[in-house]
Amino acid sequence: MMPYLAYFGQFLILFGSVFLFLGALGIFRMPDFYNRLQAGTKASTLGVMSLILGVGFVEPEWLVKSIILVVFIGIASPLSSHALGRSAYKNNIKPFMKTKMDAYEEVSQILPEEEEKV
């Protein structure tokens, strides 16, 4: 039973490193900030999560810690990419010229300025 879990973990590590490579490639290939942001965060979030889970399967002692790390990354990485994209939009960084639709503009015209809640 044990070697199959280790094989599964190594497959997960390979899967994650392929996705990390694709994310790094996307940062070079994509035209503007927002496309680069989604290539650099979505792909690498999946890559890092599966890589850490694979390490946890290869070494069963670290499985609990690696699951906690996966949960942490699953919360933190989309949060940071959201903050980056929002601050870029607020600082008037224009999207790529072939971009057809800007949904956030319509939403921000309808909604009033966000009030903070403590």
């Binding site: 942490f72 919360i75 933190a76 949060l79 959201h82 903050a83 929002r86 607020k90 966000e114 009030e115 903070e116 809640k117 403590v118």
Partner: protein, 246 residues
Amino acid sequence: MKRFLVIFLMLALGFYLIQALHFVPFGANRMGAPADKKTVAAFYLNETVPQTAVANVVTAIVVNYRGFDTLGEVTVLFLATTGLASILYKRRDEEETERVSKPSSTILQTGAKVLFPLVVILGVYVFVHGHLTPGGGFQGGAIIATGFLLMLIAYQKYHLSHSMLTWVESLAGILFVSIGLWGLITGGTFLENSWFPKGTLNSLISGGAIPIIYIAVGFKVAAELTGVLDILLSTKDDKSASNIQQ
């Protein structure tokens, strides 16, 4: 003209530095055989386990053998916080304290509320296990300060109780100094920890007073770094500065 003078100075300094480092081969054994106990590092490596039962030698050096150094360092941090507060002093009753940062979105606020306990628990884990694994009071304190930084950025009106910070810092410092003085009374040297039961190596309760001192250092460093960040973040934005930013 000045630039060429500086570059000439750089070249001369680099030449002498490289010449000095040429006689220090990288990765060579400079300690001798540690069993001979001729050098300081060999003494520490040999005597840490029998004397203190701490697995991490760096922790033993920082907290026990060089405890005065750590005490002075924590004092320097305290003085830096005080100096920062006195340089950027702003009267409380002038107006409401407002942050440098702009209001953040609801997603960031909710996420910060979820992430903040996780970050603080990670910091506490790092400084409680400082004598077993890499880590310790300084690292754990810095991680906790990072968690407070997240809350300070996400919530614009997040209120940090300064009297609470002062109390935590003072009590941690008093604990550190009193353990040191108790060692001076019973054992004859400052921070002597032979009066405390050592425990077994590689278990959580081991090392005598070293984990207690490192936990105190962790709380103190966390309070000080949080104070530094709070003071830096709550400096008021001048109109001229904001004009340049826009």
